[in-house]
């Protein structure tokens, strides 16, 4: 077996009091997609920045493509590609010039840079806009250009930090398509996301990260089985009846019900006897006079996994007040 493309061992990074990474271990097999899934402030960007040699770790070890991210950073840079959380394209250059610049700075030579630029512009559906300044690009086009830039030098390992944040559903699907293609070319990919569905669709393995810790790791299926079978989902018609409904449903499943007040949705993990519990649910809600607009028995999604593991939904701020407070003080960056 070849050495894993990414080996991370006991990785720590502190920003003052904030433990952005607090002892992380992961391994990513060559040619696979690894999803790093976590809410705001989980430490995803910190992880990517360390692996892409932008940030030195405080403790622990990380090797990418066989190179140590600190001691062999210079060599490592020639075999990795990075697309950061915020599109890093030069607005005043055209799409083509942006890609050619990255090629030249990757030392692949001027002619090869030109050739790669055209290939990538075509592949990313940017050829028509190739000679327009990037400041005229839409958010989705910028994202694609940014992704193309990280591919100019055919990296062995690619890092994508929240590649689809800010894209509309169509843009997201398009990017997913591109990412799937990449993987067929034997690139190792580490991507971060807050979208559970995205990690599910794209990744071979997923690490769920929260507050600087990996709290679960496995294939999407393994993680789903952690929830234990199926989930019942009820959408209550009248918000004032939420409390009554929750009271009726607690104790029914294998875990505590989770309530989302905004969507008036209650989810309950129910294990393997879903059908039976479903009938019981209907009976109890009926008895209590709770009206519902939707009731379903379904396979768990990663949302449910997240709930089970952390006790809070991925979209909610983590209970860890320290991380949340520190986030407020971060220097802001204009989202492209």
């Amino acid at each position: 077996m070849a050495e894993p493309a990414i080996i991370v061992h006991g990785l720590k990074k502190y920003f003052g009091e904030v433990r952005a990474l607090d002892g992380v271990d992961i391994e990513v097999t060559r040619g696979t997609v690894f999803g790093l899934l976590g809410p705001n402030g989980a430490g995803k960007t910190t992880m990517v920045r360390i692996l892409a040699t932008l940030l030195p770790p405080d403790d622990g070890e990380a090797r990418v493509a066989g190179y140590d991210v600190v001691k062999e950073a210079a060599t490592l840079r020639s075999v990795i590609g990075l697309t950061g959380q915020y599109a890093a394209v030069d607005e005043h250059l055209t799409g083509r010039e942006n890609l050619e610049l990255v090629g030249v700075l990757n030392h692949i030579g001027k002619p090869e840079s030109r050739k790669r630029a055209v290939e990538l512009l075509e592949r990313f559906d940017l050829i028509e806009a190739a000679d327009r300044q990037a400041k005229t690009y839409s958010g989705g086009m910028r994202r694609r250009l940014d992704l193309a830039a990280s591919l100019v030098a055919n990296p062995q390992v690619l890092f994508l930090d929240e590649p689809t944040t800010g894209l509309d559903p169509r843009g997201r699907m398009q990017l997913w398509g591109i990412i799937r293609e990449l993987v067929q070319e034997e690139t190792t990919l580490l991507l971060t996301t807050q979208y559970l569905e995205e990690a599910d669709v794209l990744s071979d393995r997923i690490a769920v990260i929260d507050g600087g810790h990996v709290i679960a790791e496995g294939t999407p299926d393994e993680l789903k089985s952690r929830v234990g079978g199926e989930v019942i989902e009820v959408v209550v018609a009248d918000p004032s009846q939420l409390e009554v409904a929750v009271a009726q449903l607690s104790g029914l499943g294998t875990g505590a019900p989770h309530v989302d007040e905004i969507t008036r949705r209650i989810t309950v993990p129910v294990g393997e006897h879903g059908g039976h519990v479903l009938a019981e649910t209907v009976r109890r809600l009926d008895q209590a006079g709770v009206e519902f607009t939707d009731l379903a028995l379904r396979r768990p999604t990663l949302d449910d996994v997240f709930m089970t593991l952390t006790g809070h939904a991925a979209e909610e701020a983590p209970a860890n007040g320290q991380a949340a407070a520190a986030r407020g003080g971060r220097r802001g960056r204009g989202r492209a």
Binding site: P4, V79, G84, A88, E97, L105, H107, Q156
Partner: protein
């Protein structure tokens, strides 16, 4: 994972870190920066309009009131070296602004993830601002000629004078680079530059003679890098003042600033995460 399983990684195809690559990296970054000045001409227009206004203001409004008992030529010949130096200093403040912008827009992250020379981002930035300064100095020379400015020496000292002015601008670009990397914000860098530029330019002999300044300012005005450089430029373009002191002092400042601020800025850049 055992050591035996480890396969040697494929050797990278290209050799990075050679001198040729470093030069090519610097030129690529320089070109990228210059393209911006071409695509956003308003940047250049505004940095040119301002010194032109200074020329007109001093030549036609204040000039008559400024007395220069020792200077053998009209005031405009005294004024233009001051304008050149003021122009390159103001131009050099853009170095910090440009770097702060690259930092906040994530371009520096992109560059730092590439196998390019670490020095190329800073060197390319200061170089492109020097090229831009050369262009503006040329423009100001033409404007000066239109309002009566003349060079009273010959071509060799005149060219040396231009080189000195640009070298002075380059040195200040490195100060500005350090400020931009420390402040990391476009507007603050812009504002910060006026704080250190104003006392340098206006408490100097750029527009008036040292003897016309209040006593307590005279001592500073005589050693101020702007003063000694403007006076060197006068010596090289107009043959006045004749002492070599100014030239050595000016070269001393340029070298001194570079020796201090190049390592400081490079260090800041390396650690800008």
């Amino acid at each position: 994972m055992s050591a035996i399983d480890v396969e040697a990684p494929a050797p990278p195809v290209v050799h990075h870190g050679t001198v040729a690559n470093t030069v090519s990296d610097i030129l690529a970054v320089t070109k990228r920066n210059l393209i911006r000045y071409v695509r956003v001409p308003s940047l250049l227009v505004f940095s040119t309009i301002q010194p032109v206004m200074f020329v007109l203001l001093f030549r036609y409004v204040f000039g008559n009131a400024i007395r220069l008992p020792f200077f053998p030529y009209p005031y405009v010949d005294y004024l233009m070296p001051g304008i050149f130096i003021q122009t390159v200093i103001f131009g050099s403040t853009q170095t910090g602004v440009g770097l702060a912008e690259d930092l906040t827009k994530g371009m520096v992250d992109r560059f730092r993830s590439l196998p390019m020379a670490r020095s190329a981002v800073l060197a390319g930035r200061t170089l492109s601002d020097t090229v831009r300064n050369a262009f503006v100095v040329l423009l100001m020379t033409i404007v000066g000629y239109l309002v009566g400015f003349r060079i009273h020496t010959s071509i060799v000292p005149a060219v040396a004078g231009v080189v000195l002015a640009l070298a002075f601008g380059l040195a200040f670009s490195w100060i500005s680079a350090w400020i931009g990397l420390a402040v990391r914000d476009v507007e603050s860098t812009q504002a910060a530059s006026f704080v250190w530029i104003f006392p340098l330019v206006f408490a100097s002999t750029a527009f008036v003679s040292a003897s016309s300044l209040p006593g307590w300012l005279q001592a500073w005005a005589k050693i101020n890098p702007v003063s000694v450089t403007v006076d060197s430029l006068r010596a090289l373009l107009e043959g006045w003042p004749s002492q070599a002191y100014h030239l050595w002092a000016s070269i001393g400042w340029v070298v001194g600033i570079l020796v201090v601020f190049v390592p400081l800025s490079v260090n800041k850049y390396r650690r800008s995460v």
